[in-house]
Point group: C2
Amino acid sequence: MQRGRQLRPGVTLVRAGEPMAALFVVRSGSAKRYSVTLGGGEQVHGFVLPGEAVGLEGFASGRYTCEVSALEPLSYCRVPIRKLEQLLERLPGLRREILRLLGQALDESQRLRGDLAQSDARGRVAHFLADLSHRLARRGLSPTEFRLSMSRADIARHLGLTLETVSRALGTFKREGWLRVRARDISVLRPDALAALGGGIA
Amino acid sequence: MQRGRQLRPGVTLVRAGEPMAALFVVRSGSAKRYSVTLGGGEQVHGFVLPGEAVGLEGFASGRYTCEVSALEPLSYCRVPIRKLEQLLERLPGLRREILRLLGQALDESQRLRGDLAQSDARGRVAHFLADLSHRLARRGLSPTEFRLSMSRADIARHLGLTLETVSRALGTFKREGWLRVRARDISVLRPDALAALGGGIA
DNA sequence: CGTGAAATTGAGCTCCCTCAATCTGAGTGG
DNA sequence: CCACTCAGATTGAGGGAGCTCAATTTCACG
């Protein structure tokens, strides 16, 4: 395990198409995972928070399949694949942990897709906020007071909406008294309401 | 590796919430992967074709997270997790293969979600057909002549549309001369057109 | 402060959802 | 063998949510 350098906002951590030489784990800051489409647009697959892994999809072909770039100053750990394979040889616990990590990523991706397919615009934005809140809490950060490191446009592309619609959804939540929104600073006042709108599995 | 019994259409292979005792690989037939939502509706995560694995998401928590039920008479292999872990101990090749399988599932899920977020109704249906075609071809089956084992409603829930919209999209493709549609039998006449509409990553 | 990007807000229009009727096809019993 | 039945699929009409285009407003940064 190596400690990576600090990355500045906008700098790319991994590039689509490059051989997967290592896994990364974010220590602090956040990042955006995306692909570039034929038209030159961005498909935003998601956002990486502290404690979360980067590059797992690379196992599919031995190459990364999406770009990951820092949204805030980012520090990370680098785990070379060579080293990882050596460790997997000897450590059954690590084998299970890697499988767990991949299974979790898969499960979350599918769950997210399901919600995306079933919810309307407000539901999606509510789900997005609830998910973010949940993941921050898991890391010991405040689930109710946080700063969005990504733009409205990034959120929109992630949710399959336009940035205007995202903005309007936030406006609605604000008006309902569920949120306090000041630019990128969010205060969640009614997590229950968001969770209810966000929907989910039984 | 055990050879499982034949399953009749409608019969459930794995249930959400049950401990993950085994992985499955479909030998013939097809299946539907779905979750049951709070309202009692189905979130269709996808469809399993011959040669594809079932239950990978279970690695996340040691329990399956979605239901998988047969759409056609289904035969499958059963790989007990215990046995798998023993084999992983000794076979580096199998370790890589399992990681590859999980990475691929993750990558496909993300890619699919991206297209879902960006495409309109026709684009989604086109993508669905192109994806199906591709996966059938990978298995040595005809990519242009096949039978949909799932209902329009299943397709719709999978794509975040209504069944009427799916039907209309198919009708449009038929009128354009891209497809021949007779109930659940599909003939793809213009794969290129579908692929173009389906969009995708550069 | 001043400047430009990001976000909000507004108005019109399009696409898809909703509701409803019709049509097709597979399975059943006379 | 055919009428019957019922679920699944198609087709149609109308309305609403979200996209597009456009004008401000707010915020971050120098």
